[in-house]
């Protein structure tokens, strides 16, 4: 059941802009980019129309996951400053419309993937949507501070789906890219959780800084950053990518670990501006964009 809302149901039909906002377009951009990189780094040629349709299916699947997540968490969102302006907690959208939109979009995205590419990619897309909605949103997130560690798998699916859409089978490189996003998620989200800790505490979500405290969260950010760096560099020595990707991964990951050391070793008091945490959060987004760009560049223009 979705978290209950106290506002009256709006009588007006939903505005399409609110339905669009329900799909979390900013999160979708990273999903689309990593999926596209997975597809472009795969061996062989894909017809441009089929490639476009597969990426569109992944984007719609991500949008559906976002919509169902917002439908389920509307009550929690209304308690957090960061999310209180979203269409459901702000009362601009009826929960029933959001649910129907999410389920419809999810079903359509899987059908489009099946029609445009292959059943293996459609199955993976369906699994990623179900994992995000049922395992992460409904089960893990409200129960354990390890929510985003395990839930990170949902965000790691896109490059895998992109690769499978192009080839119809799995290979070591997309699995390593899956592992990279999986290990990138904890330091990325915990850096955010450190500077919006009070929001999560107010909403009763057991994020790591709320449950285990700042010190433990900072140590774990550093731990995950180190193993993430190792997994980011691994495709080069293992022979799945070339030097262009290898050197990009080494330089970017070294910087990631340095920023994580700053975050991991500091203590803060009341009124701290949390600049190193905000810097790490912003850098982590750029890190993933550039690294996945390097996977594609290395495939098409090897050194």
């Amino acid at each position: 059941m979705a978290q209950s809302l106290t506002h009256a149901e709006p009588a007006l039909p939903a505005d399409w802009r609110d339905l669009f906002a329900l799909t979390k377009p900013r999160v979708m951009s990273l999903v689309v980019f990593t999926a596209l990189c997975g597809l472009l780094a795969a061996p062989g040629d894909v017809h441009p129309i089929l490639a476009f349709s597969s990426i569109l299916a992944i984007a719609l699947g991500a949008g559906a996951s976002g919509a169902l997540n917002q439908w389920y968490e509307a009550g929690i969102d209304s308690k957090m400053k960061r999310t209180a302006g979203r269409p459901l907690p702000a009362g601009r959208l009826d929960p029933q419309t959001a649910l129907q939109f999410g389920v419809g979009l999810a079903a359509f995205s899987v059908f489009l993937m099946l029609f445009a590419s292959n059943w293996q990619a459609a199955l993976l897309l369906a699994a990623s949507i179900l994992f995000y909605v049922f395992i992460y949103t409904m089960w893990l997130k409200p129960r354990t501070p390890q929510n985003i560690v395990i839930g990170g798998a949902a965000g790691a699916f896109p490059p895998l789906i992109g690769w499978v859409a192009a080839t119809g089978s799995l290979a070591p490189l997309p699995v390593l890219l899956f592992l990279l996003i999986f290990l990138w998620t904890p330091p990325h989200f915990w850096a955010l959780a450190l500077f919006v800790k009070s929001d999560y505490a107010a909403a009763g979500i057991p994020m790591m800084p709320v449950v285990a405290g700042e010190k433990s969260t900072r140590r774990q950010i550093l731990f995950y950053a180190v193993i993430m760096a190792a997994s980011a560099i691994a495709p080069w020595p293992l022979g799945y990518t070339g030097a262009l990707y290898g050197w990009t991964a080494i330089i970017l990951s070294a910087l990631f670990v340095m920023l994580s050391i700053q975050v991991g070793t500091r203590t803060t008091g009341e009124g701290d501006l949390m600049r190193p945490e905000k810097r790490l959060f912003a850098y982590s987004i750029a890190y993933l964009f550039i690294l996945f760009g390097a996977v594609v560049a290395d495939h098409w223009w090897p050194l």
């Binding site: 009588a11 007006l12 039909p13 939903a14 505005d15 399409w16 017809h47 129309i49 089929l50 349709s53 569109l56 029609f115 445009a116």
Partner: protein
């Protein structure tokens, strides 16, 4: 009629504007999907030839 006086006045113009806006968006999306499905079919025919 106390209940009616507590409710906000129904804005029919806004209701129609939103309905029209959604209908237009839906028409554009259905048109785009029809073209996309046609192009996917053509692409698949080229691949299997």
């Amino acid at each position: 009629m106390t209940q009616e006086s507590n409710q906000e006045p129904f804005d029919e113009a806004e209701y129609r504007r939103r309905q029209r806006s959604r209908a237009n968006m839906m028409a554009w999306m259905l048109g785009a999907l029809a073209i996309l499905f046609f192009l996917i079919t053509i692409a698949k025919m080229q691949i299997f030839q």
